[in-house]
Symmetry: C2
Subunit: 144 residues, 2 copies
Amino acid sequence: MIALEECLIFLLAKAYQHVNSVARTRLESFGVTPTQYALLHVLWEHGPQSGAALGARLRLDSASITGLIDRLAHLGLVERSPDPTDRRVSLVALTIRGAELQAPLQEAIAAFNAELDAILGAAESARLRALLRGLISAYPLPTR
Amino acid sequence: MIALEECLIFLLAKAYQHVNSVARTRLESFGVTPTQYALLHVLWEHGPQSGAALGARLRLDSASITGLIDRLAHLGLVERSPDPTDRRVSLVALTIRGAELQAPLQEAIAAFNAELDAILGAAESARLRALLRGLISAYPLPTR
DNA sequence: TATAAGTATCTTGTATACAAGCTATTTCAA
DNA sequence: TTGAAATAGCTTGTATACAAGATACTTATA
């Protein structure tokens, strides 16, 4: 019987669970979750765009994106507006408050990255990231 | 701005998401999810035990364990019975059907592990597992 | 151009996870 | 021994995620 602790899938699940839990506490004072940070990050970097574009960049399906935008809109960090060129599309853009959060939130994430680097060592951390990228590219998510 | 693809937390999230999605399809024909497999695995290995013991082994809180046992009981793979020595406790045990699934399910998981090893290479896979264990032990989950 | 195909969003249902709080029960301590 | 603290399990509420399907709109094709 192969122990659970030897199965990559369960190690991945628990490592994600632990690290995500810590990341959540590091972002707690800003009122956003790691996933919500990721969506804001895409808007900071690439500007207003449709939910479909956000979903493609974050690899989330439409149901997840709908809920994520709903919650960020409720927090007053993003807002939806109709796309004048395609009435199916609603464009998602940062609000003033969403834009203002960029600097402090990125500082918090940078500090958390540094914390993880300190735990693993810079070289090991880089190696881990490379291995994870290998896994991700080996199993591209289905295009739904 | 640190790219999301450079952040360990987001790489972990996506690697887990991808690998879990594939693992789910590998177990689909058995009617169980990877998380449900993990609970069954603990019962195969350690025998009947309380929900609290299962939660400690799987690092899941009581709400998650309650739902997980509910679903496995509904599938007819485990059953709850009162602990005669402590009336707070309900012992969780495999049913006949749950026990019968051990061999085929473990074969499927072994095949999936082999699949991941083939993608990464055995040495890289072992290294990845070691790095993930390092992360897990660096951030022990709170004892709730 | 009329229709088929494709796309964007949303909805519903299921499965994890965590936080917080409740009840019943047990254990510990003054 | 009795009142406080701890424990087991459950419930509720929130946040992801995916599957499947509905609707509205756009694009491509016959």
